[in-house]
Structures are given as structure tokens and as C-alpha cells.
């Protein structure tokens, strides 16, 4: 069952990949009858749905194999988040039938799923606090909400690529490049992980870990950032160039910091390679793809996906979370960092809705906010686990 499950995930991944290509093609071909949808886009959409069904198969078979819902560690949760992004895309595409949405949504979902599979993938047992139906309901609903909200990021990004003036460099083009660069860093992280993983790279350190015990920390990438006061155990390996600061208290924080630095570094190399071969800003290179886009519609999609995603997110990440916390930790709210960041996400989107409704923040301002919202969601998913110790840092 576990074997079948991971095969289904691979299949889903490749179907999503194919769907992405079809969506890209759909933008480049001339539409004969002038309608928005064409057959490339239609097939892209159909493939997205088939891929989603495969991934659902992965989810169900893994559930059967594990005996509990597979949303209990970073790999499982992040994969599920990617799946919910695809689901969010399927819903929004059904309403608006805009192919360009697929060109961005599917790659971002692919990145998220690939990122997820860099974490340990074994089926893990549940510690007592996680043995709760409310936990499953909380996590799945929260991920669904975040998946739909992620579509607003995609739409916001499309809006920015399509509208920002690329004739000369400005602060805006700079920030847009930065957003694209962070996406490349995720890709870089995946490539570097696979690369060093295939080479079976290892370097170990002796250090005092986050719970104050002497322990060994094994790096699978060359150590740029070593553990604080760590002693190198392997000979002839590279680095470390400096030590991770002592206040990073997540589980194995120095290793995660090191991985993060590699991600930024490899992203930079990818970015520079692309930039040199294209001889223009990435935003400028993407812009021609967007020439037939109805930006007003894209703007509305970005708002609509927040309007749909916000209640789902609130229900899952706050209300169901509180119900679970009341049973598991005796209090519905404990100001645990992950909880606080869910609240921050909630407040952020609430502010967005008010700015849009009452202060007419449409178009570009609104699009930047959509991007920022996704940054907050990803921060909660990635950084909070690395830097901060809390009840949720179980993975």
C-alpha cells in the first residue's frame, strides 16, 4: 500500500508537469475563434484534474497504510498543501477559465510538492497529542484555505507581470524580480538536495542540541553554516564557513539554516544563468506571454480567491484549531508561535479585505498584498519550524 501510494504521488507529479506545459502552449498559440479557452488549455485543465485524482489516490492509500490521516509531519502536510493548491486552482479555473492561471498555479504547486519530498518521507507514528479527529479536520481545512489563498498569489503575480512597466528598471521591477528569484530558490533547493543526495554527501558534527544534549548532527550538504560550538567529526569535508547563531532553537536548526543558505545560493545561480541567457529581466521576458490578458479579470480573480479562501482558512486554521487545542492542550489558545502566525495571516487578509472594499485598493496595490499574504503563509510553513520552538514543530 505504501509503495502504491508513493507511485501515485510520482504519477500525479508528472501529470501536473505535463499540464503546466499544455497551459504554456495554450498561451502561445493563436486563438482561432477568439474565445478565451482553446483546446490546449482545456486539456491542461483535464490533466490537472486527473493529476489531482491521482494525488487523492496517494492520500487515501497512504492513509490506509498509516492508519491515520497523512497530514502529521512536514512532508505529508506540505504535499497536502500542494494538492489543495491544485484543488483551489481547479475551483477558480472552473469559474473563470483563464489559462494563464494554470501557467503559474501549476508550477508553484509542483514546487511545493517537490519541496515537500525533500523531507523524511517514512510513515511516522502519531504522538498522543496528535491522536485526534479534530486535528485532521483542522489541518486539512487549514491547508485547503491556504491552497485557495495561494491562487490569489498566483493571480496577483500574473497581474504584476502583465502590468508592471518593464521599459526601464524601477523599484517595482526589482521587487518582482525578487519574487521570481525566491521561486527559483525553491527550485534551486530541490536541485541541490537531489544532487548532494545522489552523491551521498555526508559531514557530521558533534554539538549540543536544542534540548541541551550532546548529539551528532549529520549534514547532507556541505556545511556553510555549522552548528554553534560544533566539532567536526568527518575529515576532509568542506567548511563550515561560520556558525549558526545560538538563538535558532528549532530541531536541528543549524542544518536547516545551512540548507536555506544553499537554497538562496543555488537560486541566485539559476537566476543569473537565466538572466544572462535571456539578456533581460525575468519579468520582462515573461511579459510578452501576458499580452492578451484581461488584467481587470485577473485582479478580480485575486480578490475572489481571497473571498473564497478566507472563510475556509479561518474555519480551519483558527476555529477548528481552537477546538482541537482545547482538547489536547487544555486551552483553546496558547500564543504558540504557529498559532500566532495563523492569527497574523488572518489579520493580514482581514486588512486586505477592508482596504479593497472600503479604500479602493484595486489593481497593483491589491496584487502586491496578494503576494505578501502568500509570503506570510509560507513563512508560517517553513521559517516558524526552523527558527522557533513550539508545540507544532513536530516535524
Amino acid at each position: 500500500m505504501a509503495q502504491l501510494s508513493s507511485s501515485l504521488l510520482y504519477i500525479a507529479f508528472f501529470i501536473y508537469f505535463t499540464a503546466t506545459i499544455l497551459f504554456v502552449v495554450s498561451l502561445t498559440v493563436k486563438e482561432k475563434d477568439g474565445t478565451k479557452s482553446n483546446k490546449w488549455g482545456k486539456w491542461g485543465y483535464i490533466l490537472s484534474i486527473i493529476g489531482f485524482i491521482c494525488q487523492l489516490g496517494y492520500f487515501i492509500t497512504r492513509w490506509i497504510a498509516a492508519g491515520h490521516a497523512p497530514v502529521s509531519n512536514l512532508f505529508e502536510f506540505t504535499t497536502f498543501f500542494g494538492m489543495m493548491m491544485v484543488f483551489g486552482f481547479i475551483i477558480i479555473y472552473a469559474i473563470y477559465r483563464l489559462n494563464v492561471l494554470g501557467v503559474f498555479a501549476m508550477p508553484v504547486a509542483l514546487l511545493v510538492i517537490a519541496y515537500a519530498s525533500m523531507f523524511p518521507r517514512e510513515i511516522e507514528p502519531l504522538i498522543p497529542a496528535l491522536q485526534s479527529n479534530w486535528l485532521k479536520i483542522h489541518v486539512t481545512t487549514a491547508a485547503l484555505g491556504e491552497g485557495i489563498l495561494a491562487i490569489s498569489f498566483v493571480a496577483g503575480l500574473i497581474y504584476l507581470v502583465a502590468t508592471i512597466d518593464q521599459s526601464k528598471g524601477s523599484k517595482k521591477t526589482g521587487w518582482l524580480e525578487f519574487v521570481l528569484y525566491t521561486l527559483l530558490s525553491t527550485l534551486g533547493f530541490i536541485l541541490v538536495s537531489i544532487g548532494f543526495g545522489t552523491a551521498n554527501y555526508q559531514a557530521s558534527f558533534e554539538w549540543v542540541n536544542e534540548s541541551g544534549n550532546q548529539a551528532e548532527l549529520v549534514y547532507h550538504m556541505p556545511a556553510i553554516a555549522g552548528p554553534h560550538d560544533g566539532v567536526q567529526l568527518t575529515e576532509g569535508t568542506f567548511g563550515p564557513l561560520f556558525e549558526a547563531p545560538a538563538w535558532m532553537e528549532g530541531v536541528d536548526a543549524p542544518k536547516k539554516l545551512n540548507t536555506f543558505i544553499w537554497a538562496l545560493f543555488s537560486g541566485l545561480i539559476l537566476y543569473l544563468l537565466l538572466r544572462l541567457s535571456l539578456r533581460k529581466r525575468l519579468g520582462a521576458a515573461l511579459k510578452p506571454l501576458m499580452k492578451n490578458i484581461n488584467t481587470q479579470l485577473v485582479d478580480e480573480i485575486s480578490y475572489r480567491s481571497i473571498a473564497i479562501g478566507f472563510p475556509v482558512f479561518t474555519l480551519g486554521a483558527l476555529i477548528f484549531a481552537m477546538i482541537w487545542a482545547q482538547a489536547a492542550w487544555t486551552r483553546f489558545w496558547g500564543w504558540d508561535p504557529k498559532e500566532v502566525w495563523a492569527l497574523i495571516t488572518f489579520l493580514f487578509y482581514a486588512a486586505y479585505l477592508h482596504l479593497r472594499l472600503a479604500r479602493d485598493w484595486h489593481g497593483e496595490k491589491s496584487a502586491w498584498l496578494c503576494v505578501l499574504g502568500f509570503v506570510i503563509i509560507m513563512f508560517n510553513l517553513i521559517a516558524v519550524n526552523i527558527v522557533i520552538v513550539g508545540l507544532h514543530s513536530y516535524a
Partner: protein, 539 residues
């Protein structure tokens, strides 16, 4: 102030921008501009009065700009609170003043001095939440009341300028048969689930008006939620106590005023078995044992009518296994499994011949209630001369001493009597220590095993504010869904002398209403409605 009378005869409150009834713009703006349909152009208190202090405060809190700032400040403050752990998450024995500096350096010290270590219960954070509450209330009343009035008073026939200045508008050819046209368009609109009203040659089709109340409903939910979470300070509504119970022990449950008693029958702690196949890979990677279950089997008793001073009679209420995520609930109380300890309870010894190690008898010491004297039969006897449950050697007095009363590191001074040594011999026994102070004892006390005992850590909770908070949450959810998943759409049709005017408005989702109306205009062979806002942008 005086009411404003519109040409149509309707009396509008002072400050009205668009007549509530016929929609004629009262304060005529430049002729080309689209009407600002926000809150239907009603007279909002905050937009009308600004003279005295009350007005100024009202206007301050009713401003969305202020509201968003309050939200953003709360958001940033919350984020700062997660940079370093809050005080409740640092070791309880640590002194926070020193802890933050030691662990996080100068930044930690600043963090502590500014009070961020206790951010979420600080006065200013609570004040921020309070201000948000006030702002929500004021802003909602300022807009909700006039909006309600205006939507209730609206008439079917609207002023020409009202129609012309809608964002979606078109003028079509006058149909040959007016009656037939009216019937057909009414039918099409009903088909799209509009509620239609007709007055002579005018139509008002409307749907989803209830979604306009969504924000007000969700704001009410938020206020209930906020008030509910503050109610905790009212005595009697909230109880939070910790208690420890040993296996076999019966204790009055804290906070129940001796009404309920709990007996702890048995504690279970289980870890996952590495041999369990589906988890074996993960269990081998993490190496450490992974806990599977913490469980206290308990019996709940209720005390019958108790006489002052007398021991109460207990009658059994129920047996239950408290686990993490499965609290025991009764009479408004919940008992949670939160912690456990394992303590040494009985230590077993043998009295042996020092040379041959031949046993002459054995005895057990109850580490919580040690006896002084152990009769081993045949004239053999051991006296407990000194007991140090948590032993250390005091360097100043040069004597053994104990740190606490908890048997963490028990040590004993025994005096051994046998028929051969009637004077008695002294031995000092501790964990992995067995001293013979005189050096020529004929007998010794040898360690012969230990019994441990579980003590479960439970939290007693009673929280009568929870239902209020939950209701607040449910109302909030209803409100957001109502406001965000539906929208308020209106279509006006007016058959005039030469042509037919059609205008439409929605509070959101213009894409949706456009698709809906395109469908109708195509079927009726009318002009497609034009989005005048987009047109003006293009121009």
C-alpha cells in the same frame, strides 16, 4: 438638522447624497462621473457631523483607515512576540530578567525590558484589541443603520440620473410590444433567481440582499468573541488548577470545593514498538522511543452531604480512562492528562552476613512513610536511624542532608541488630553507595530491588466562557460566508418614450453579474451592458 426633500417627495435625512427612494443624486457632482454607490449614498453620521468632541471620536473610530491601522499594528506586535519565546514557554525556574539576556544577548535584554516577553497579556496589547472592538462597533453602526434604511426605502422606479450613472448601463431600442417585452424580461430575470418588482414601466430586480448584512453579522460575532474571552476575569466562570495524584491515591478534586473526589487506579505509559512494521523505518531513524499513550485510569466520586469535620461518604460516579485529547468531563469540569512522573516508592533490602553474603532476612522501606523498625525474625532487627529522601552531603555541617521530601535520591542510615551483634552496627546506604562507617561490621544491608510508582499530573478546568466564545465564532463564520460567498445584485429596467434603459449594480463580483446579464440581453436581443468604469479607464 433639517431633512432634505427630494423632487420625488421623499424626505431624506440630512447629509444624504443619493435619494433613498428614487436614487436622484441630491448633491449633484460633475455630470459625467459615475455614482458612488458605497452605502447607497446614505447619510452616515461620520460623514455629516464633525463639530464637537463626540463627533470627532465617533469619526475616528468609524474610519476604516483607522481600523486597518489598528489591525496592522496588532499584527506587527503579534509577530514581534514570536521572535523569542514568551515567558510562559521559558523554564519555570528561570529568572526572566537574566534568562533573556543569557540566551539571546543584548536583543534579548531589550526584548525583556520592553515587556515583549509577556506581550499578549500586556496592557497595551489588550488595549489594542479593545480599540479594535470599539472601532468595529462604531464603524458598523455608522454604516449599517443608514444602509438598512436606504435599502428598505428604495423604490422600483429610479431617477434617470441614477440609472445613467451606474457602472453597468446600456440603452436599447424600444420594443414593439412593451407588455410582451416586460413579461419576457421579468421571466428571464426570475430564471436567474432575481426577486422582481414592477411599477408601470419600471423594473427592479434584486437578489442576495442578505449578503449586505454579512459584515455586520461577522462583526457582531467578533465582538461576542472578544467579550467572551474577557469574561474569564469574572470570578466563578473560569478555573484552572493542576493536581498530582499517585496510583492508588484518592484526592479531592481541586476547585470543586470537596464535592468531587478522584481515585487514580492505574497509570499507563506506552511507547511505539520498533517492530511495528509500518512505522519501523521512522522509528529507527529517530532512535528515541516515541510515546504512544499516556493514560490515567481513574474513578470519579461524589461526596454525599458532608458534615463539617467529618470524613465524607463517597459514592462512585464513573470509571474513566483519561488520555491526551480525551479529558474526563463532568458537571462543567474537565480533567486533562497533562503530565506524569515516575517515583521510587518501595525499596527492598536484605540483611546479609558481610562475609558470606548469606541472607538472614529481608525488609522493604516505604519511601514516603518509612517505618522506624523492621523485625526480621529470629532476633534479627533493623532500625532506621536516618532517612534522606533527596540526599546530598552538606559540606558545611559535614553531615548528610536532604534537598526535598521527594524520594529522588534516597539514602538511609540503618542500625542492624542480630543475636551475634546485640549492640547493633551502623550502615549508610544510598544509591550505589554502601558505607560501613566503623569498618568492621559483621553484617550489611544489601539492596534488593525497587518498586516505582506513577504519579499523574492532571489539569482541572472549568470554563463557562467557552460556549460564548464558540457562539461568537459561529456567528463570525456565518457572517463571513454570508458576505463573501453571496453578493447583492440589482438590475433596473426602465422603458422610456424612445428606448429602454437598463442598469445594474453589484457590491462585488462584477464578472458574475456581467455573465448573467449578457445571457439575458442576448436572449432578448438587447444591447449588452457596458462597464462604464472600464470604458472611462480606456479612454
Amino acid at each position: 438638522m433639517d431633512k432634505v426633500k427630494c423632487d420625488c417627495g421623499h424626505l431624506n435625512p440630512y447629509g444624504t447624497i443619493i435619494c433613498e427612494a428614487c436614487g436622484k443624486p441630491i448633491q449633484e457632482e460633475s455630470p459625467e462621473k459615475l455614482l458612488n454607490m458605497r452605502y447607497e449614498g446614505t447619510a452616515r453620521r461620520s460623514q455629516t457631523y464633525n463639530t464637537n468632541v463626540v463627533d470627532k471620536i465617533w469619526n475616528f473610530f468609524s474610519s476604516v483607515k483607522v481600523g486597518v491601522w489598528l489591525i496592522v499594528i496588532t499584527l506587527i506586535a503579534s509577530a514581534i512576540g514570536t521572535i523569542f519565546p514568551q515567558q510562559m514557554y521559558i523554564p519555570p525556574t528561570a529568572n526572566p530578567a537574566a534568562y533573556y539576556e543569557k540566551e539571546y544577548g543584548m536583543l534579548g535584554e531589550i526584548y525583556y525590558i520592553l515587556g515583549f516577553h509577556n506581550l499578549y497579556s500586556s496592557w497595551w496589547f489588550v488595549l489594542l484589541l479593545g480599540l479594535i472592538g470599539v472601532s468595529i462597533t462604531v464603524a458598523s453602526i455608522d454604516r449599517g443603520v443608514p444602509l438598512f434604511r436606504s435599502l428598505r426605502n428604495q423604490r422600483v422606479a429610479k431617477h434617470d440620473n441614477f440609472l445613467k450613472k451606474q457602472r453597468m448601463f446600456a440603452v436599447s431600442k424600444r420594443p414593439e410590444d412593451e407588455e410582451q417585452f416586460m413579461e419576457e424580461i421579468l421571466f428571464r430575470l426570475k430564471e436567474k433567481r432575481y426577486r422582481v418588482r414592477r411599477e408601470d414601466n419600471s423594473i427592479l430586480a434584486e437578489k442576495g440582499r442578505f449578503s449586505r448584512w454579512g459584515p455586520y453579522v461577522n462583526h457582531v460575532g467578533l465582538i461576542i468573541f472578544l467579550l467572551g474571552s474577557m469574561l474569564r476575569i469574572v470570578p466563578g466562570l473560569y478555573l484552572d488548577e493542576d493536581m498530582w495524584i499517585r496510583e492508588g491515591e484518592t484526592k479531592a478534586i481541586k476547585g470543586t470545593d470537596q464535592e468531587y473526589y478522584l481515585k487514580h487506579d492505574k497509570f499507563t505509559f506506552e511507547v511505539y514498538d520498533k517492530k511495528e512494521e509500518r512505522f519501523s523505518e521512522a522509528l529507527n531513524r529517530v532512535q528515541q522511543p516515541v510515546p504512544k499513550n499516556y493514560q490515567s485510569d481513574v474513578t470519579l466520586y461524589k461526596a454525599d452531604e458532608k458534615l463539617p469535620g467529618a470524613k465524607p461518604d463517597l459514592s462512585e460516579v464513573k470509571d474513566y480512562s483519561i488520555q491526551v485529547n480525551k479529558p474526563l468531563e463532568f458537571d462543567g469540569y474537565s480533567l486533562y492528562q497533562v503530565d506524569y512522573r515516575q517515583e521510587m516508592r518501595y525499596m527492598h533490602f536484605e540483611l546479609q552476613n558481610a562475609e558470606t553474603e548469606e541472607a538472614v532476612g529481608s525488609f522493604s522501606v516505604d519511601l514516603l512513610n518509612p517505618k522506624d523498625d523492621f523485625d526480621l525474625g529470629d532476633g534479627n532487627r533493623v532500625e532506621l536511624e536516618g532517612y534522606y529522601p533527596d540526599f546530598y552531603f552538606d559540606k558545611e555541617t559535614k553531615k548528610p542532608a536532604t534537598k526535598t521530601n521527594i524520594p529522588n535520591n534516597p539514602a538511609f542510615i540503618f542500625k542492624m541488630f542480630t543475636p551475634e551483634t546485640p549492640e547493633g552496627e551502623v550502615a549508610f546506604i544510598g544509591i550505589r553507595q554502601n558505607l560501613d562507617p566503623s569498618g568492621d561490621n559483621q553484617y550489611k544491608v544489601a539492596f534488593n530491588g525497587i518498586d516505582t510508582e506513577f504519579i499523574t499530573g492532571l489539569t482541572v478546568k472549568k470554563d463557562y466562557t467557552l460556549p460564548i466564545i464558540l457562539i461568537g465564532g459561529i456567528i463570525f463564520m456565518i457572517g463571513v460566508v454570508q458576505g463573501l460567498y453571496w453578493n447583492h445584485r440589482r438590475v433596473w429596467v426602465k422603458v422610456k418614450e424612445e428606448d429602454v434603459w437598463m442598469a445594474a449594480h453589484t457590491n462585488k463580483n462584477w464578472h458574475g453579474i456581467r455573465r448573467e446579464l449578457d445571457d439575458i440581453t442576448v436572449k432578448l436581443n438587447m444591447k449588452q451592458l457596458v462597464d462604464q468604469q472600464e470604458e472611462s479607464k480606456k479612454a
